[in-house]
């Protein structure tokens, strides 16, 4: 029942030279950003191969969202750059953004539109044309189980958190991008929709697309991703395939705790809780 959202080959930038050694789907090249003299991101480099699903994990305030914002054009880096299939996002933003599908976390949408209107607006703003937009939008709403609310005329402002995620995801997919950058896509999404989402992302990578997913949930990343990057304090602490990063640790969570450091709760602390 899932539609094919394989990458749009026509929008690729590959040339004969690239064919032998194609550039990575997404490349973060020594990205740096400082807010009020505090470095939020400090030289983050990351390479996301085509056909892979990369999990980006890190504690709260590690710089995940800031790095991803700089990778998709929402925040101008102080240093470094990002490339999408070799196209520099900060020197050729339009070329790079055409290849990208983006789901940011916790931002507003045009709140007073229905889901269908939002996709219709988005498709036409991106120049997809009415008919293509209509077909894809209807299919996406059906697959993500937003067709019911749309038939009832529910506005985005009235959506639940999970529904907001799903309509955001639909906007990320509508123009059939080659690279998906998704900030916390599974947050607040119900288990049934989560399965649909996983199937959809698998199909996307099987077709040659690349996905970057940020998450706090280790088990999810372990089950979903074939590559993982651990980021903390604005730096990449580990990066590679799941097995490479995990090494001898029994689970990714152990690797994460080992690298990031854990605060154990002492015997006497918080003893008043539950009494």
């Amino acid at each position: 029942m899932c539609p094919r959202f394989a990458p749009d080959e026509t929008s690729g930038m590959s040339t004969a030279d690239d064919a032998a050694n194609p550039p990575p789907a997404l490349e973060l090249d020594r990205l740096g950003k400082t807010f009020r003299d505090t470095p939020a991101v400090d030289g983050v480099s990351l390479s996301v191969p085509r056909g892979s699903l990369t999990g980006l994990v890190g504690p709260n305030g590690a710089g995940k969202t800031t790095s991803l914002s700089m990778a998709v054009g929402l925040l101008r880096p102080d240093s470094g750059t990002a490339r999408v299939q070799g196209v520099d996002l900060w020197t050729d933003p339009i070329g790079a953004k055409r290849l990208l599908g983006v789901l940011p976390d916790g931002l507003s949408l045009p709140e007073r539109l229905t889901g269908g209107e939002l996709l219709d607006h988005w498709g036409r703003l991106r120049g997809l044309g009415r008919e293509v937009t209509r077909e894809r939008a209807a299919e996406l709403l059906r697959v993500l189980e937003l067709d019911g609310p749309d038939a009832d005329g529910v506005l985005v402002a009235e959506y639940s958190t999970g529904m907001r995620k799903k309509i955001g995801l639909a906007t990320a997919l509508l123009h059939a991008p080659s690279v998906l950058v998704l900030d916390e896509p599974y947050e607040a999404v119900d288990p049934v929709s989560a399965r649909v989402l996983t199937t959809l992302l698998r199909r996307f990578t099987d077709g040659g697309g690349a996905v970057v997913v940020s998450s706090h949930v280790m088990a999810l990343v372990e089950q979903l991703a074939d590559r993982v990057a651990i980021i903390s304090g604005g730096r990449v602490l580990a990066d590679g395939t799941l097995d490479e990063v995990r090494g001898d640790d029994p689970a990714l969570e152990d690797t994460f705790v080992r690298l990031v450091g854990a605060r154990e709760i002492g015997e006497g602390e918080l003893s008043w809780l539950g009494n």
Binding site: R76, G116, L125, G153
Partner: protein, 554 residues
């Protein structure tokens, strides 16, 4: 609990850049001094009572309007306390009490306490009546202010409430505008005011009939020995105050009702995905933006309030001008008033969408910025111009002032064009983010726009000068109709030119504009070149002047 709430309010205000803006503070201090000056300078008790009633009526208008226009009133949001194990009514009452804390409320108390001087000079025995009346009136003014502020937020949950609020707001703006015209002859003779008072006519009677005039009436009755009526005026004032305070406390309680407008049917125009359905708008990015904006203006209660209140204000101003003899010639120009209100109401348009700007940033194509800016201009004009045209035509025909046709048409094309260009440029350059739209509950949540408003008030006549000059000259020269093409060119050039500046700036600063919206002024200042263009200077001015309201949580 009240002590805790007051401490919390003071802490929040300490972390904000400033509590009350300099303009508001100047008005409050000036108003206090003026109120006392009247009581000191006027020798006649009747004149003093009149002037005190005038002053308190103005104080009431200020307290009704101020909080919805200024920032920072919603510092303590009722929703913060929704999950506390406290009775909602008690939280509401506690929050109402915090409204009495601050420099503005204290100076207001000082101002209304001037009634004591009036009483002392009239008959020292009436002093207790005056002080009691002033204290109760103080409670009334601040409760009324909070009631209007919260009631507006509550009204926005239903379509009917929004319409009703629009009518009242429009009427209030029109009455304020013409209210000063009614008292303006007296005010212009400010020096002689303490001697002569407001003179004969309906104004003193109206002022004395308002609850803001009752304490002075109580003092007057007591001075005449009629202690019964004096007590009756005070009792009536207490009753009104209690009712208003109770309503304000109830509305200040954390609401558990859904924040969104209730809706019975599918919104009009929402079947966009039905196969074979035709759209009136072109299948282009521009068409997409116009469609989105028209729907948002129509469905978002806060945006709806701006549009509707502008229309009602224009209608009521026209009707009032028509009914007040020396001003009837102004009635045909009501459409121009609407253009002006449109300019002010949309001068911070991008902040209304908040971080939803991310869509345009990540979807950037060669013409996205142009489509976004032009689409917004077209949508606002498409909503306003037809109504303004109908209103203007009705008032010209109704008043029979047919000489005004060329001036009205010239004024409309000029002001709508100039307003459209100016407001979109200010929206981009002087963007001041507010609360993100999906978290918005109060009237001033959509971002401070004081500098935009002042710039627009100064810029509009300046940019309309060619058309204004040509109209005056051509009327004198006996060829008034030739002013219409001048106005058309004037309006089009400004709408096009400033719109072009706006979309070129947006196109070169997508990431910076979004960062400003998301991370606030510190990040925006960091991204602004040290010695930039004049647009950079305008932006820096807005960043340093406008206040930032960024409360989180629902």
């Amino acid at each position: 609990m009240v002590g805790e709430l007051i401490r919390l309010k003071l802490t929040l205000q300490r972390h904000a850049r400033s509590g009350t803006s300099a303009v508001a503070m100047a008005l409050i201090v000036g108003g206090t001094l003026l109120t006392w000056y009247f009581m000191i300078a006027a020798p006649d008790p009747a004149v003093r009572a009149q002037l005190w009633s005038l002053a308190t009526a103005v104080w009431a208008a200020g307290w009704i309007m101020g909080p919805t226009l200024a920032n920072g009133v919603g510092a303590l949001r009722p929703q913060y306390f929704a999950l506390m194990p406290l009775e909602r009514r008690r939280v509401g009452a506690g929050l109402l009490v915090t409204a009495f804390v601050g420099v503005g409320p204290v100076l207001t108390l000082v101002a209304v306490a001037s009634l004591g001087l009036h009483a002392w000079r009239t008959d020292p025995a009436t002093l207790p009546v005056a002080l009691a009346g002033a204290a109760v009136l103080w409670v009334l003014l601040l409760s009324l202010s909070r009631l209007v502020f919260r009631a507006l937020g509550a009204a926005m949950r239903t379509r009917f409430g929004m319409e009703l609020a629009s009518v009242q707001w429009g009427l209030f703006m029109a009455v304020l505008f013409f209210g000063w015209m009614a008292v303006q002859p007296a005010i212009s003779a400010m020096a002689s005011l303490p001697r002569t008072g407001l003179g004969a006519g309906p104004v003193p009677d109206v002022l004395a009939a308002l609850p803001t005039g009752w304490p002075a009436r109580a003092v007057g009755a007591a001075a005449a020995g009629a202690w019964g009526p004096a007590l009756a005026w005070l009792t009536a004032l207490v009753a009104v105050t209690a009712a208003v305070a109770l309503a304000a406390a109830v509305l200040s309680a954390p609401s558990t009702a859904p924040r969104n407008m209730r809706r019975r049917a599918r919104p009009a125009g929402s079947r966009v995905l039905d196969p074979g359905r035709r759209s009136l708008l072109p299948d282009t990015p521009l068409g997409a933006v116009v469609g989105k904006e028209l729907r948002q203006w129509w469905r978002d209660p806060w945006r709806g309030l701006e549009v509707r209140a502008a229309m009602w204000a224009a209608l009521f101003m026209g009707l009032l001008a028509w009914s007040v003899e020396p001003y009837a010639f102004l009635a045909p120009f009501t459409g121009l008033m609407m253009a002006m209100v449109m300019t002010l109401a949309t001068a911070n348009l991008y902040a209304m969408d908040g971080t939803a700007l991310w869509m345009a940033v990540v979807g950037q194509e060669p013409g996205t910025a142009r489509a976004d800016v032009r689409g917004r201009q077209v949508a606002v004009l498409a909503l306003m111009v037809p109504v303004a045209s109908v209103l203007s035509a009705l008032f010209v025909v109704g008043t029979g002032e047919h000489w005004a046709w060329p001036a009205v048409i010239t004024g409309m094309v000029t002001l709508f064009g100039v307003g459209s260009g100016l407001s979109i440029l200010l929206s981009v350059v002087m963007l001041t983010p507010g609360v993100d739209p999906h978290l918005r509950v109060d009237a001033n949540d959509s971002g401070d726009n004081q500098l935009q408003v002042w710039t627009a008030l100064l810029g509009t006549p300046l940019l309309s000068a060619p058309a204004i000059g040509a109209t005056v000259w051509l009327y004198l020269a006996g060829a008034p109709w030739w002013s219409v093409p001048v106005g058309l060119v004037n309006g089009l050039v400004v709408a096009w030119g400033l719109g072009r500046l706006a979309h070129r700036r947006l196109d070169s600063r997508w990431a910076e504009t979004f960062t400003h919206m998301r991370h606030g002024r510190e990040a925006a200042l960091q991204a602004l070149p040290e010695r930039g263009s004049w647009l950079d200077s305008l932006q820096r001015g807005a960043l340093n002047t406008n206040e930032e309201t960024r409360p989180k949580g629902t």
